[in-house]
Symmetry: C2
Subunit: 403 residues, 2 copies
C-alpha cells in the first residue's frame, strides 16, 4: 500500500511516517515546513529538540534502510500537489497538512484569514488533485472533535437520523465549532463530503480528540526520530502543555473552572487509528466520519492526573485556575459516540497515567531547554481579539490534592 502524508514534518506526520514504515507500507510525504515558522512566530519551541527534515530523512534511511520520498511545497500551489500525487501514486492520502491551532486563528484578522485560506483552499486543492490524478485513492482527512462544539445532545459519528415534523432523514450532524480554526475544519469536512458525492471520491474524515504523548511503543530512540512537542499557548495542546509545566515546576494552568470536557487520545492510539482507517477504505463515493478519541476528560481532571503522575517522579506541582481566554461553555453535556474504529479493531490504550508518566520521563532530560521559553505558558490571546495576560484566579497547592 502506497501512503502519501500531507504534513509529514508535523507532530502527527513525522510520527506516522515512522509508524507506517515499520508496519511495512511505502510512505511518501509533503510539507511546506510552516509549522516550524508558526511556532517560532508565537515565541514557542519544541520541548523535545527536533532535527531538520533533511536530518530526519537521512536518519530514517540509516535506521530502516528505506527512503521516505519527500516533497517540499505548499498545498495552495495546485501544480505542486498534482505533481506530488502523480509521483506518489497513493492508495491512501493522509491529510495532516493544515494549520492546527485555535488560538493562532484568533489572534487577529490576518491570522484568521491565513488559517481559513491555508486550510480550506489547501484541502480544496487536494480534492481537485485527487479527482484529476488518483480518483480511486482513499483520503483520510484529519478533522477534529472540536467541529461539533458542545451541543446539548449526544454526538454521533458525523451523521444522524433525525425526525422533524413527521418526516425523517439521515443528515450531517450540525457543527458548532469554537474558533475560526475549528470552523476551517468544518468547511473542509463539508467540501470533502461534497467531493465524494459528486465525483465518487472516497474519504474517511477523522474527528480526532486532542492528542498527547511523545512516542509509540518500539519507536526508535535516535534524536532525529523524535517528533515535535509544543507547549506554547497556540500549538501546545493541554496535556502536553501540563507535562512541560510539571517538568519545570510551573503551576498547571487550567482555563476557568476546568469543567470543559473534551475527547483525548494518546499519540500511539492516534497512530493505531489512522492506520486502521487507512487499511479499511470505504467504497467509492462514500464519505464516512470516525470520532477518534480514547476517552473524555475534563481539563481539571487532566490537571490532577498530570499532578499525580508527576508526583510519582518526585515532581511537586500545583494547579492554577486562570481566566479562560477562549469563548467556550464552562459546563455542558458531552457524550460523543466512538464505535466505528472499535468495530475496525481499535484497542484503546486505557492507561492515561502510564502515558503521561512516559511523557514526563521523555521531557525531564530537556528541563533546561524548556526553561528557555516560558513566556507563553500563560495565554494572552483572547477570543475577543485582545491581547492581555490571563489573570490568575486561584492556585491549589499540590499538598491539598488527595491522590
Amino acid at each position: 500500500m502506497n501512503i502519501f502524508i500531507a504534513g509529514i514534518d508535523g507532530y502527527l506526520g513525522w510520527t506516522l511516517a515512522q509508524y507506517l514504515t515499520i508496519k511495512g507500507y511505502r510512505v511518501t510525504g509533503a510539507d511546506a515546513l510552516l509549522r516550524r515558522e508558526w511556532v517560532e512566530e508565537v515565541d514557542g519551541q519544541s520541548a523535545l529538540p527536533i532535527a531538520s527534515i533533511q536530518e530526519r530523512l537521512s536518519a530514517f534511511q540509516a535506521a530502516y534502510g528505506r527512503q521516505i520520498e519527500f516533497y517540499e511545497g505548499n498545498l495552495l500551489e495546485y501544480d505542486f500537489i498534482q505533481d506530488c500525487l502523480r509521483q506518489a501514486q497513493p492508495d491512501v492520502i493522509i491529510h495532516l497538512g493544515e494549520m492546527p491551532s485555535a488560538p493562532y486563528s484568533m489572534i487577529d484578522q490576518a491570522h484568521a484569514f491565513f488559517t481559513q485560506q491555508n486550510n480550506v483552499l489547501g484541502n480544496l486543492n487536494l480534492l481537485w488533485a485527487m479527482k484529476e490524478t488518483c480518483p480511486d485513492a482513499h483520503l483520510v482527512k484529519l478533522g477534529t472533535m472540536g467541529e461539533y462544539g458542545t451541543p446539548d445532545l449526544d454526538i454521533p459519528e458525523g451523521f444522524f437520523e433525525v425526525e422533524y415534523r413527521g418526516r425523517t432523514d439521515r443528515l450531517p450532524f450540525p457543527r458548532q465549532a469554537g474558533s475560526f480554526y475549528h470552523w476551517s475544519k468544518v468547511h473542509d469536512s463539508n467540501n470533502t463530503m461534497y467531493a465524494c458525492k459528486i465525483w465518487g471520491l472516497r474519504s474517511t474524515d477523522i474527528m480526532q480528540g486532542v492528542v498527547f504523548g511523545t512516542r509509540f511503543p518500539g519507536m526508535c530512540d535516535r534524536p532525529e526520530m523524535r517528533t515535535r512537542l509544543d507547549y506554547d499557548q497556540c500549538f501546545g495542546t493541554v496535556i502536553n502543555r501540563f507535562c512541560c509545566q510539571a517538568v519545570i515546576g510551573h503551576p498547571l494552568t487550567v482555563y476557568g473552572e476546568g469543567l470543559q470536557r473534551r475527547g483525548f487520545i494518546p499519540l500511539q492510539d492516534a497512530m493505531q487509528c489512522l492506520t486502521l482507517a487507512s487499511e479499511n477504505p470505504p467504497e467509492a463515493g462514500e464519505y464516512r466520519v470516525f470520532n477518534q478519541f480514547e476517552n473524555t476528560y475534563s481539563i481539571v481532571e487532566l490537571a490532577r492526573l498530570v499532578q499525580s503522575a508527576a508526583k510519582t517522579l518526585g515532581l511537586d506541582v500545583s494547579i492554577q485556575h486562570i481566566e479562560n481566554p477562549r469563548n467556550e461553555v464552562p459546563r455542558h453535556h458531552y457524550q460523543p459516540e466512538r464505535q466505528k474504529l472499535v468495530e475496525l479493531g481499535y484497542q484503546p490504550t486505557h492507561d492515561i497515567i502510564g502515558e503521561i508518566r512516559a511523557m514526563l520521563e521523555d521531557l525531564l532530560p530537556h528541563r533546561d531547554h524548556i526553561l528557555h521559553k516560558t513566556d507563553t505558558l500563560v495565554p494572552d490571546i483572547h477570543w475577543d481579539g485582545t491581547r492581555k495576560r490571563a489573570q490568575v484566579f486561584e492556585t491549589v497547592a499540590s499538598a491539598s490534592v488527595s491522590d
Copy 2:
C-alpha cells in the same frame, strides 16, 4: 439610516441602491466591478445593455439630486473594507459582494478555488472590519436557499429544535449545498454565526430564493438606471434565462425532467424583503436566518409559465428537455418555511405571470442585442468537471401545451 452595500454594481446591488434611496435612506457602496469581468469571461452579456458605474452614479445624482458615495475595491483587501466602513459609518451593511454562480464555481479547480477564496475570505474580512470599526451595525448578509439542498424534511429558517436519544437542543439546520459556490455560502453563514456569538455582532442571514425580474414599481426608466440581466449558463438564473430565450425564439432549456423544485422571488419582492430586514435589526449578538422567497416552483412549471406569458405577447416558444449538467436530485420533497419576513410585513407580489410579462416587455426591444450572444444558452459546464454541450432529450412544441 446609513446603509452600506457591498456589491453595489451587481444585479441586486444597483437595484437596491436606487430602491433604498427612493425610500429616503443614505446609501453608500463598494464594488470591485468583477461581475462585469466574470460575465465577459464566460462569453455572456447583460440582456439589457447597462451603463458604466460612473455613468450610473452620475445619472442617479441627476435623477434624484442625491449622491451615492462609491468606493471601488475588493473585500479581500482588509484595509480597503476597513476604510469603507470608517467612512460610511453604516447602521446597516448589506453584503451582496460575492461571486454568485454555481456553474462558474464548478468549471475547474481554478474557478472553485477562486470562488471559495473570494466569498469566504471576503466575508471573513467584512466580519473582522465590522468588529473593529462598527460593531453595532447590522449585517444583512445574502445567503441562498441552495445552502439547504433538498433534505427529505421540511426546511426551517436556519435552526430547528431536534430530539436525539432522549435529549433536545436547538441546532443549526444541517446544510447540504449543491456546488462549491453554494458551499462557499454555507461557510460564510457558519463564520457569520460564529462572529455574532463571540463578538456580539448582529446579523440577518438571508437564505434567498432565485431572483427574477428587471425592475421594481416606480423605478426610473433611464437606461443608466437599468440593472444587469444575465442569461448565460453561469450568471443567468433560470427565469431570466427563459425570458431571454423566449424573446429570441430559442426553446426554453429545462435541465432534465425539470421536476427540481426551488424557491423563487421577484426582484421587487427581494427589494422589499432586504429593506424589511434592514429596518428591523436583531439584538446585539443575535444571528438570525430568514428564508426569503415568494413561492416554490418546479423548473418545468416555470417553463410553462414563461411559455404562457410569452404567448400573450405573441411569442411562440417551445420547451426543450436537455441533459442536466448539474448533480442534483431529480425528484424530491421541498417544503421550506417562510414566516419571519411575513411577520415583519412582507407582502408577496403573488403575480408571477405579470412579473414575467413585464420582464418580456423590457427585454423585447433588446432582441437583436440578445441575439449577438447565444452560445451559452445551452450549458456545457458539467459537475463532473468536463466541458461538453448538454444533449437535447426532447422538445415539446408550444402547440402541445394547454394554457
